[in-house]
């Protein structure tokens, strides 16, 4: 790999770090604007002014905001996300298992959705404007247009209630055998796949169709390549950058946007955790989850950027 790529990649990573820092400031500031503080929240309405003052002193709440921010940030960087107010548990420990669950669900949804979307996109291009194309586009759009809770409940109704193939509640626990775990996530993963499929499929189709106008596609056709090989060998490699972009956006959605699906299937992931603690006004947990979601979002977008850079032969092989 040559210098321009290294430079561009380094720039993107640095930009991502700066962005994440900015977001941490926003998250911190946001929680400061809310009325009341942690001491008040811990001690409740009946606290005496003395005990409040003591606790504030103890928690360092009398320090100026920037000192508290750096204190918090220092903790985050070293893996200490603080303590949940509602339960008194260490946030990092509770998040670890749930983050893993969310990633597990997102991973399997992606493993199905991404290749399926791209293959459907390729098929749609191959038979563009014909009935196959219209059928694929129509079904994909329909599945995206339904809200995810609707799809979730439809899946539960048929697969869990009527036919009883998969469980309607996706309970998972530590040490659960892989097979059972897969069975448990089958329905939420399907719901997620249906939600993200159309976006990726449509983008793949549009990106490749755009490239199909190029002179080099004509060259390939005039070499006698079959329609599918023209698309696969000549159009697809040049459409990869926008496709990666939309795939990464959807992967980010699979991780940070699963809240509704996790709640429907009572799946113990990050989304459930976040929703639980928002209702309990547990600010430190919300802060921590918000920051993790932001980090996931930013890193996936950086990966998309980097992949697009690396996919460009002009940058990979400078003159």
């Amino acid at each position: 790999m040559s210098s321009p790529i290294v430079k561009l990649v380094a720039q993107r990573v640095a930009l991502g770090v700066v962005l994440l820092l900015a977001i941490s400031v926003l998250i911190f500031a946001g929680t400061q604007i809310l009325p009341g503080d942690v001491a008040q929240a811990i001690l409740g309405q009946s606290a005496t002014p003395e005990s409040l003052a003591n606790l504030r002193e103890q928690l360092g709440l009398n320090d100026p905001a920037y000192v508290r921010y750096f204190h918090w940030l220092g903790g985050v960087v070293t893996g200490d996300l603080g303590t949940a107010m509602s339960s008194g548990q260490d946030i990092a420990t509770s998040i670890k298992g749930r983050l893993w669950n969310t990633l597990f669900l997102a991973f399997w949804a992606a493993v199905v959705a991404v290749p399926l979307a791209i293959i459907l996109g390729l098929i749609a291009v191959r038979y563009r404007n014909g009935w196959v194309d219209k059928l694929i586009s129509g079904l994909a759009l329909a599945s995206t247009s339904f809200p995810e809770f609707f799809i979730g409940y439809v899946l539960v109704y048929f697969f869990a209630v009527k036919w009883q193939i998969f469980p309607g509640i996706s309970t998972v626990y530590d040490g659960m055998p892989f097979g059972e775990r897969m069975q448990a996530i089958a329905l939420p993963a399907t719901a997620l796949t249906l939600v993200v499929l159309a976006h990726m499929m449509r983008m793949t189709r549009a990106a490749i169709l755009n490239v199909m106008q190029s002179a080099y596609v004509e060259t390939a056709e005039l070499k006698g390549l079959s329609a599918f090989n023209v698309i696969r060998r000549h159009a697809f490699p040049n459409a990869i950058a926008p496709i990666i972009n939309v795939v990464m956006l959807n992967l980010a959605y699979l991780i940070v946007g699963v809240v509704v699906v996790e709640v429907i299937f009572v799946y113990p992931g990050m989304g459930q955790y976040l929703v639980d603690h928002v209702t309990k006004r547990d600010v430190p947990v919300v802060q921590a989850v918000g920051l993790i979601f932001a980090a996931v979002y930013i890193s996936l977008n950086i990966i998309a950027d980097i992949a697009a850079i690396v996919a460009n032969p002009r940058l990979r092989h400078p003159k």
Partner: protein, 551 residues
């Protein structure tokens, strides 16, 4: 191929070919138009037939029909295309795929666009050969390297490892020829293979293609709008117009004794008489020692350039692409503020930046561009487009404006009726005329014409040049005429500046610049312009003193 066919010597026999397409005019019902009307041609093995005509003549459409290919919904609706003794139109999709890239190969106009940017050149060159299974990969690559050598490409052993963007335009065009030859086809369709190249590069590519055709005994359809180019490579020439055959004959007959009036017009297209005006005493615009670069780059696109423009005269700036011609125009108009040097107008210096110039200065310098289509707002009518400078500079509105617009339309030899049309409803030449009218509306002292005829067919371009000369007489406007086409320069210039790599290498009145002794670059430029002479190519290659930069 079977022996019996080889003996007959006939490779391609197109009979009564009819090609149609459906067009969708805005606001009207789709209609069928006939692109090619019952054209017949025959081509023997190893011979070259030149197809010539203006755009819309159906040259490419006919060429591609030999591969059973129709661009963008074009349909072959009648006739027979007999290749190697069989009618390929009866073979269906499978049949087309088997002959494409094997019996017939295609060389496109812009190799830069016709190569896939994502793959190495070698993979693309041998792709068709491997696909049709006529050779193993090792054999095909060996063949490709031999072809690279034959086409005198630099580093023939390793050039295949490169990506398209790492190779110059002239080289890419030759790699594309190698790609077509690699599968050892019987026929190659060359579709304007040198049109997108600089003259100095064109001559090398042309020579390479000619040698390759001779040595491999491949037959070719050579499509171009430039008669002088086709005269160098063809055995026979077919002249086409509006999808109909005009004239078909031996190369010598077509260029020396054309029988049809239209052919005669094509042969004598470049002859406009223009008597040079002597430079006046004081120039109204002088460019002094201007140096410019894009961004913060230390590569100077203009180096110490000085030229003068006299009232009512034409300064032509010639050079190949990348020589800094257009950058000079950008520096004068203030679009690219020069780093150094001054532009003086009417005895006072012009502000460097466009934003710092008063409206009056903007009015005095107008521009016309190469691509007339994109220089106009597609959602405005011709009347609005031409009327805009009248409103903006002079505050002329309403009926007075409409009257002026009508006068201007009259000047560019277009009727009042055009005022309500949209650019999409105009032909290429008409669009360029509207752009001329728009620049004239500002009553400028100088119009900068940036390759204004390069995208036009020769006869249309000729009309534009005549119009410009006439307008110059009437309005005594000066032109800065940027072009790479020396024939155009001869027809229009009073003085000439030859640019090479950002510097003016030769400058003076036309008669002096075009009279020997020449410097090496001007000599190369002049000797590279194709002449309508059989055997010119060989003579020109022999007589050259320096290699072209694009090589």
């Amino acid at each position: 191929m079977a022996d019996s066919k080889a003996k007959s010597g006939l490779l391609l026999d197109i009979r009564n070919l009819r090609i149609e397409a459906t067009v969708y005019p805005p606001g009207e019902a789709p209609k069928n138009i006939v692109l090619v009307h019952d054209v017949s041609l025959t081509l023997e093995k190893g011979k070259v037939l030149g197809l010539i005509g203006e755009s819309g003549a159906g040259k490419s459409t006919i060429g591609l029909s030999s591969m059973g290919y129709g661009r963008g919904g074009v349909r072959i609706t009648g006739g027979e295309v007999i290749l190697n003794g069989r009618d390929i139109l009866k073979g269906g999709k499978e049949g087309f795929r088997k002959l494409r890239g094997r019996e017939v190969c295609y060389v496109a106009q812009s190799a830069a666009a016709a190569f896939n940017p994502a793959h190495r050149l070698m993979d693309q060159v041998v792709e068709a050969t491997l696909l049709h299974g006529t050779a193993t990969r090792a054999e095909a690559e060996k063949r490709a390297v031999a072809l690279f050598k034959k086409l005198s490409l630099p580093n023939p052993e390793t050039i295949g490892e490169r990506f398209p963007h790492q190779v110059s335009g002239g080289q890419l065009q030759r790699v594309m020829t190698a790609m077509a030859l690699c599968s050892e086809p019987d026929l190659i369709v060359f579709d304007e293979p040198t049109t997108a190249l600089d003259v100095t590069t064109q001559i090398d590519v042309l020579a390479a293609i000619k040698d390759a055709i001779r040595d491999t005994h491949v037959a070719a359809l050579y499509i171009t709008h430039d008669l002088a180019v086709v005269a160098q490579v063809s055995d026979e020439i077919m002249v086409l117009r509006h999808g109909r055959l005009v004239e078909w004959g031996g190369t010598r007959q077509i260029i020396k004794e054309p029988r049809q009036e239209y052919t005669n017009a094509l042969v004598s297209v470049h002859e406009i008489e223009h008597h040079e005006q002597k430079p006046g005493t004081t120039p109204f615009l002088s460019v002094k020692n201007v140096t410019a670069a894009y961004g913060r780059s230390h590569i100077k696109v203009l180096k110490n350039v000085s030229v003068d423009i006299y009232p009512g005269q034409t300064l032509a700036v010639v050079g190949e692409s990348g020589s800094g011609k257009s950058t000079l125009a950008r520096a004068i108009t203030g679009l690219l503020p020069p780093e150094d040097g001054t532009v003086t107008f009417d005895g006072r210096p012009l502000a460097n930046k466009l934003a710092d110039r008063p409206k009056e200065d903007l009015r005095q310098l107008q521009m016309i561009y190469q691509m007339a289509d994109v220089a106009m707002n597609p959602r405005q009518t011709v009347g609005t487009i031409i009327g805009r400078p009248l409103e903006f500079y002079f505050g002329i509105r309403g009926r007075e404006r409409d009257k002026r617009v009508a006068e201007l339309l009259d000047k560019i030899e277009m009727g009042k009726g055009f005022s309500d049309r949209y650019p999409a409803e105009l032909s290429g030449g008409q669009k360029q005329r509207v752009c001329i009218a728009r620049s004239l509306a500002a009553k400028p002292k100088l119009i900068i014409c940036d390759e204004v005829t390069s995208a036009l067919d020769p006869l249309v371009a000729n009309g534009i040049l005549k119009l410009l000369l006439e307008l110059q007489k009437e309005e005594s406007v000066a032109y800065l005429f940027i072009t790479h086409d020396l024939a155009t320069v001869k027809s229009i210039a009073d003085s000439i500046a030859v640019m090479y790599r950002g510097e003016v290498v030769r400058y003076g009145p036309k008669s002096k610049v075009l009279t020997p002794p020449f410097d090496a670059y001007t000599d190369l430029l002049l000797s590279s312009v194709p002449e309508m002479e059989i055997g010119w190519l060989e003579k020109a290659i022999k007589g050259r003193r320096m290699a072209s930069a694009g090589n």
